[in-house]
């Protein structure tokens, strides 16, 4: 394992009953790299994320973070080590105002430790984060109950929730799904900036054109197995990927 490998997944497998949701997947990610995970529905992408972040325990295989074996650690411990994730089915804290949703991660053990005791005004930090992911500062939206948010906003709130933790690795599960074209276009430059600032990113996406603007590496899963890995343009040219995921449709990368 080289010095700057931040995440290493080795022979990771997960069986749900008879279903092999993830089957012997290995890959490495260097600090500051952005990885895209693609593949048809049910191919094990979300399970892969759950395995890395500790929400699901692997049947076999290991996950290393900064050279440390984190397999089997509880999800809250893994978050506090610096790996933040979003959920495909994003759900806010319905009964709180939108900005209060971010007080939870801002008050987390990790955020408090990084702030070193002087956290300043958490409400102000929350509003600031919302602004970064495209909430209009002067609108009333941050103060509305989160239960009333349109879906696209919920997804951006989900991203803000990750950022509030000041993570080293950000894992986003289908962030773009449920967002409008213009919302995706609005958030893309922000994701590119995160990458350029040296955050390590893992993104599961079906919108390949937009995904490939952010990531510099991709893997494709099918029935839980890794069938391709490499530069995004190479992966989409792979015969097996074309056959299982892209169909006859020709997708040109960015």
């Amino acid at each position: 394992m080289s010095q700057d490998t931040i995440i290493k997944v080795a022979g990771l497998s997960k069986n749900f009953g008879g279903v092999k949701a993830v089957n012997g997947v290995s890959f490495e990610l260097k600090r500051g790299e952005a990885l895209g995970i693609i593949g048809p529905n049910g191919s094990g992408k979300s399970t892969m994320i759950n395995l890395i972040t500790g929400f699901v325990k692997p049947s076999s295989g290991k996950v290393f973070y900064n050279g440390r074996d984190i397999t089997g650690l509880s999800p809250d411990k893994i978050v506090n080590l610096g790996i933040a994730r979003s959920f495909q089915m994003a759900k806010p804290f319905y009964n709180m105002p939108v900005y209060k949703n971010l007080i939870i991660p801002l008050f987390s053990p990790r955020a408090r430790k990084l702030a070193g005791g002087r956290h300043g005004d958490r409400d102000e930090s929350a509003i600031h984060l919302l602004e970064e992911v495209g909430f209009e500062r002067d609108s009333h939206i941050p103060y509305k109950p989160a239960g009333s948010l349109p879906h696209g906003y919920v997804k951006r709130l989900e991203l803000a929730r990750c950022l509030a933790l000041e993570p080293d690795v950000i894992i986003l599960d289908e962030l773009f799904s449920g967002m409008s074209m213009s919302e995706v276009a609005g958030i893309l430059p922000f994701l590119e900036r995160l990458r350029d600032e040296g955050k390590t990113l893992i993104m599961v996406e079906h919108r390949l054109r937009e995904l490939f603007r952010v990531v510099d590496k991709a893997i494709c899963l099918n029935f839980g197995e890794k069938i391709a890995e490499g530069a995004p343009e190479e992966v989409v040219q792979n015969e097996e990927v074309k056959k299982s995921y892209l169909g006859s449709e020709v997708v040109s990368g960015a």
Binding site: S74, D76, V79, N80, F87, F93, N95, M96, I104, R161
Partner: protein
């Protein structure tokens, strides 16, 4: 059929928005009165009642005692509910506090001044430790366990004859006269309402609410929710174990009835009637549920029928609870405004 159309109900907020986030902007005496009035009335009523012994008779003073006890258990229930835990066994906390003080007082001769606070803490620790393994269960599954535990403890005490077995422990040190006793329990209840409300205004309290809304995202924010739920159970247990310990010295006796189902059912009914989430609602609920149940004793066998009907009316008529209803009525004017006729 056509109901007298032509009017619709309109609700208007009262003009006073005295509290905007953290700035107090109070303009006049009237507004101050508007804000503190209800609180003042409530507290005044509670403080005056114990003085009216000659009018109410000792019987109703005792009813107030039980009411405050159930109110404490209801507050405890409401806190658990705020974290998404539904308790069907508040009697666990009550019994734990009751037996703890009974043991400390009878065995070591600790005076109530020491034994009650110690029993409050010990009972809460004991209950939290007992429930810790099942905290990951949700909804009805957690509820069923809490329902079973008090009965289990009852059988254990019965079978092993520890802590007095079926006889219980009697001859415990009494509390001072009824008036002081009532003042103490009323003060504790009010402090508890205030304390819980304050707790939920902090970022720490916000995590409790968040766990109820969406525990997955709380974990994803790096919180050990098992530990947080345990803290919630401990904080919720405190008023309930206190109630158990306090009533034990009031009766100078502790026995198997300390785990009785009444202590589980009445608090739950109180919160449902008063309205969950505000704590004041839980307390108000107890002040309806318990006195009503006592008042209906004169109806003999019809008591339970009338009681059930009244509860039903409350639950169906005010699904959000009495407190939310009163608050809305207090904060808003209602008036009928004419609407234009669209059809003949």
């Amino acid at each position: 059929m056509r109901i007298q159309a032509g009017f619709r109900k309109e609700r208007i907020d009262r003009g006073i928005k005295a509290r905007t986030d953290d700035i107090f902007a109070i303009a006049s005496c009237r507004e101050i009165l508007y804000l503190v009035g209800p609180r003042f009335l409530l507290i005044a009523a509670l403080l005056i009642f114990p003085l009216l012994k000659s009018i109410t008779g000792i019987y109703w003073q005792n009813v107030l005692m039980i009411t405050a006890t159930i109110a404490l258990l209801a507050l405890s229930w409401d806190l658990l509910h705020s974290v998404g835990l539904v308790s069907l066994g508040q009697a666990l906390f009550f019994g734990a506090g009751a037996y703890a003080t009974g043991y400390l007082n009878s065995k070591f001769g600790w005076s109530p001044v020491l034994a009650i606070p110690a029993a409050t803490l010990l009972g809460a620790l004991f209950s939290t430790a007992l429930l810790y393994p099942v905290l990951r269960l949700r909804g009805i599954y957690f509820g069923l366990i809490t329902f079973a535990v008090p009965m289990l403890l009852m059988r254990i005490i019965e079978a092993t004859k520890i802590l007095g077995g079926t006889e219980g422990i009697s001859g415990l040190t009494p509390l001072p006269g009824i008036t002081i006793t009532l003042y103490i329990i009323i003060a504790v209840t009010l402090v508890c309402v205030y304390g819980y409300q304050r707790l939920f205004e902090t970022d720490y309290g916000l995590v409790f609410k968040a766990i109820r809304d969406n525990d997955r995202s709380v974990i994803a924010a790096g919180f050990n929710i098992q530990l947080f739920k345990a803290q919630a159970v401990f904080l919720a247990a405190l008023p309930a174990t206190f109630a158990g310990a306090f009533l034990t010295h009031h009766y100078q006796f502790v026995g198997l009835p300390a785990f009785a189902m009444d202590y589980s059912v009445l608090p739950m009914a109180s919160v449902i009637i008063g309205g969950p989430g505000s704590f004041i609602g839980a307390m108000l609920g107890a002040f309806i549920v318990v006195p009503l149940s006592e008042f209906l004793r004169t109806f003999g066998t019809l008591r339970i029928v009338i009681y059930s009907l009244v509860l039903l009316v409350f639950v169906v008529g005010l699904p959000q609870g009495l407190f939310h209803y009163l608050k809305r009525k207090y904060d808003q004017f209602e008036r009928l405004v004419p609407i234009e006729e669209v059809e003949k």
